[in-house]
Symmetry: C2
Subunit: 138 residues, 2 copies
DNA sequence: GTAACTGCAAAATATTTGCATCCTT
DNA sequence: AAGGATGCAAATATTTTGCAGTTAC
């Protein structure tokens, strides 16, 4: 695990710091998406709130994580797959939000169908967020 | 127009007040979704920020408007179709966000395809947000 | 007249910025 | 050693809450 983390940071041309390692580790360990608040709470060594903001922004910039839109104002972040590169995030899978346990997960295996738009519209990205009850809660 | 507004408020069992009328009018006039900030800026008579928050919440509760998720932390609101009832919002159309002009629109005519989830998952609602370039900007 | 709505003040929360210090390379 | 990252302080922005005065019905 530590190997994997360091390698990922190196590959993204980021210096390997404690906060980055620990926050990245949290993402790798978690199989659901994390909100800013989750990260603040779950890191054992507490990092400054500002550091968390900046780290998430950096990870976004480098294409390490992506955001998942939600209807309430709570943005969640999840790891990008290898296919994502800096500045070229391509997220072709479905996101699922469980209304019971509140977890947000990437359903990597479910692909997004193509959606035909009216004349004149150009599509660059499609997001699908399914709400319902997850495997564990049902 | 004023008729329509009053009627809609009555139908939702809300008392007809100035702020509600003006905010609802804004939604009816606008063909794209509005953020809290848009409403604050665009109402000629300025209402207190708190009133805007409370009015939006009330409209949500009554099923008059619905939220549209975005990847940045900017929630947008749009009018619900007649099929939406209090507590039973059903939003079966696609949302489009233009990356040039920033407007968010409901594409009422584009329906959301059914998405098959893995065993054990139950779907209650599906949101589709397409980003790209809109009719007017292309 | 009464219940509900609004505006103001203020509290609570979230996010951004500047800068001095520390850490990675 | 140098550039970048972090932590702290503080500025800014956002959202919520309480309450007194006002308005709709």
């Amino acid at each position: 695990m530590p190997e994997q983390i360091t390698e990922l940071l190196r590959k993204s041309q980021l210096s390997v710091t404690d906060s980055r390692k620990k926050i990245l580790e949290l993402f790798l360990q978690s199989d659901s998406a994390l909100a800013h608040h989750d990260i603040e709470v779950r890191t054992k060594e507490k990092f400054d709130r500002v550091t968390v903001y900046r780290t998430l922004q950096t990870f976004m910039d480098k294409g390490i994580i992506h955001t998942i839109p939600t209807t309430d104002n709570s943005i969640k972040y999840a790891l990008c797959k290898d296919s994502c590169e800096q500045g070229h995030h391509h997220d072709d899978h479905v996101h699922f939000i469980c209304s019971l346990c509140g977890t947000t997960t990437c359903l990597e295996e479910i692909h997004i169908p193509e959606i035909k738009l009216p004349r004149g519209y150009k599509t660059t990205q499609t997001e699908v967020i399914v709400s319902g009850i997850c495997k564990l809660c049902s």
